[in-house]
């Protein structure tokens, strides 16, 4: 891919994501959204964040891996527990990384 095409791709990607982000923020106030849609919006955070996380934890190298050998899944579950108990983002990040590293070290020594 030439340098020019690369810059075009970057500029295009930037323009696309900006339009997506602006979409409803700009429209609302001019149009009213249906009631069912506004009720649906309450579920967006829980649904989107889960949809992002699940494949990152359950899939290893493109294959579904639900076992005690899946360190990322175990560390992710531990992090969810930290997040629930502490409600702290830094503690969740540090705790999750520490659990992952511990599991990886244990996995190597077995």
């Amino acid at each position: 891919m030439s340098t020019l095409t690369l810059w075009l791709a970057v500029a295009g990607a930037g323009a696309i994501t900006f339009v997506l982000r602006l979409s409803f923020i700009a429209l609302l106030g001019r149009i009213e959204i249906p009631i069912v849609l506004s009720r649906a919006l309450r579920f967006v955070p829980a649904a989107v964040f889960t949809a992002v996380v699940v494949p990152l934890l359950f899939y290893v190298d493109g294959a579904l891996e639900v076992s005690l050998g899946n360190e990322r899944l175990l560390a992710g579950l531990a992090a969810a527990l930290f997040a629930w108990r502490t409600r702290s983002v830094p503690l969740t990040l540090v705790g999750g990384m520490l659990v992952l590293w511990t599991l990886q070290i244990l996995g190597q020594s077995l």
């Binding site: 891919m1 990607a13 982000r21 409803f24 649906a40 967006v44 829980a46 889960t50 992002v52 969740t92």
Partner: protein, 177 residues
């Protein structure tokens, strides 16, 4: 970020842009979800806030907004403060990555921070049985949607989650406003 491996693999610009479009459709959901909170602000503000809208900025602001902890006139400033801080950190960290990224080893699994950030965001977003059902149905759908082409899995699973939440709400009756 999903576009980076495609670019290095020499995919065509159409495939790259299509992938960017599909994977970022979730930003439309963020935009719709924030829109009621930014209903009465000037167009310039809307442009600025949309430009700064990232996963993390959304995650950090939507829970206090939806819980009604912030008054409407303050929301734009609240969002600007959070989003600008994240944007500056993002740019600085990207520069840092360019210069010292090769020094950080893959063995450190630093990429695991990405799911951890979303885990820290999803837990406070699950507030009751209906939002729990939204999360559960999105999660189950995500397991099956991974194989969809062009990263359509993410937005499909997210929409299944939203529908799951709505359906549960109808079955249980509205638990909390």
């Amino acid at each position: 970020m999903a576009a980076v491996p495609l670019l290095s693999a020499g995919a065509s610009i159409t495939v790259v842009l299509l992938t960017v479009l599909v994977i970022n459709l979730r930003l439309t959901l963020y935009s719709a979800s924030l829109a009621p909170h930014f209903r009465r602000i000037p167009a310039g503000w809307k442009g600025l806030l949309a430009y700064l809208l990232t996963d993390q900025a959304y995650a950090a602001t939507i829970t206090p907004f939806d819980d009604g902890e912030t008054e409407e006139p303050d929301k734009r400033w609240y969002f600007l403060g959070v989003a600008l801080a994240i944007w500056v950190t993002w740019q600085a960290a990207t520069l840092l990555g360019v210069f010292v990224g090769s020094w950080a080893s893959e063995g450190w699994s630093l990429d695991f921070v990405l799911p951890l950030i979303f885990i820290a965001a999803v837990v406070p977003a699950i507030k009751d049985r209906t939002t729990g059902a939204a999360s559960l149905s999105a999660g189950v759908a995500a397991l099956f949607c991974v194989a969809l082409p062009l990263n359509f899995g993410l937005i499909s699973a997210a929409l299944v989650g939203v529908i799951g939440g709505l359906a549960t709400e109808m079955i249980l009756g509205r638990s909390r406003p």
